[in-house]
Amino acid sequence: MSASPAELVHNVEDPELPYVTIGDLGMVRSVDIDGPVVRVVLTPTYTGCPATEQIQADVEAALRSADLEAEVEFAMSPPWTTDWITETGRRKLAAAGIGPPGPSHPGSSVAVDAPVECPRCGSRQTRRLADFGATACKAPYRCQACREPFEAFKAF
């Protein structure tokens, strides 16, 4: 049996984090079939994330491969949060060596670090090395236990 439109959308890989899908990241709000058109509503992550347009193109391409026409819309409210990353997504991130985010503090205007587990040894004795990393969603960390440097998702 071939994949449903919803599965096709959820399984689109994140262009910058190809080991997780946009479903894993909690970006998919809805997938509705409306006659010949599949209407997809996504929540973008960071306002400046350069992957957003690529994701739209990838969703359209995934549906086109099943001869479906896509209409992709971005919902700005409520804003995306790392709390929407699924359990599967968190496991995949850790397996790829990226520390999954701790719980976010949605009402807080102060950037708070949730405890981050070392994806290598599991220790919570980890330290953030800088505020910003290779992508908007991550920051560089070091594990104090096994001394391994790694990237972790910011709780956002």
Binding site: W80, A130, F156
Partner: protein
């Protein structure tokens, strides 16, 4: 023709974000250490994202079929409505950081207030931008404290930066001609100016820096009056688009 107040407001904040983003972009690969190159690039990118959404909304409000690029690339320098602080040159690292800090405190309290806007588009953007700005402020505030409470030389430079940039901070509060937007709840009056002063004071105290006694305050940025530094910045920003109109890549 008078431009509607809401469109003016949206352009002011789009321009604030874009001009600062461009300034920070000039720092990429010139910051004192690799982590700071990453920081200025990331912050710049967030600000470009915010500017794009504001310009896209400006296009809707204006109703003349303009997309976001129009507002970034096809307006003259006198049409930019950003506060003058964000166009000031990068200077040394203390100036870059203090400028960013003074801006980030304003941006944070602005977005906090805007989350309660009766305008659904602006409220939604504010919820996201507020979270991004919290990360920017943690970074800039951390550096202000480190530089101010650091060595004699870093303290001296940080204090010089505060003193030289202070005259641009009079614009970091409510704009007089937005009174109707405030009355309508579109731009909620969250005492952004008062909160800015309090947050800045607390950080400078921790940084062992003095609040400047500057009195030669500058204004007019929100109305399109600018220092001599904005023109070259906008010309650089627009050069490619104007040399190759409509180019796609």
């Amino acid at each position: 023709m008078t431009r509607p107040a809401l469109l003016t407001h949206v352009l002011r904040h789009g321009d604030r974000a874009l001009v600062l983003a461009q300034r920070l972009g000039q720092m990429v690969a010139h910051a004192p250490e690799l982590e700071e190159d990453m920081a200025v690039a990331n912050i710049s990118l967030d600000l470009i994202g915010q500017a794009r959404q504001l310009y896209a909304y400006a296009g809707e409000l204006e109703g003349e079929g303009h997309e976001e690029d129009h507002f970034a690339y096809w307006r003259g320098v006198e049409e930019f409505l950003n506060p003058q602080l964000v166009e000031q040159p990068n200077g040394d690292f203390a100036v870059t950081i203090v400028r960013q800090f003074l801006h980030d405190v304003f941006a944070l309290h602005h977005w906090e207030a805007m989350e309660a806007s009766t305008d659904a588009t602006l409220a939604a953007l504010a919820a996201r931008a507020r979270k991004e700005t919290a990360f920017h402020l943690r970074h800039s505030r951390g550096w202000v404290v480190r530089l101010g409470d650091g060595t004699d030389e870093s303290h001296r430079r940080a204090q010089t930066a505060v003193d030289s940039l202070w005259r641009f901070t009079g614009e970091l509060g409510p704009v007089a001609d937005e009174a109707q937007l405030r009355a309508d709840g579109v731009v909620p009056d969250g005492d952004v100016g008062g909160q800015w002063a309090e947050t800045v004071r607390a950080a400078l105290t921790e940084a062992t820096l003095d609040i400047s006694t500057a009195t030669d305050m500058v204004e007019g940025g929100w109305h399109g009056r600018h220092s001599e530094y904005l023109k070259p910045l906008i010309e650089e920003l627009q050069a490619l688009t104007r040399a190759h109109p409509g180019a796609q890549w």
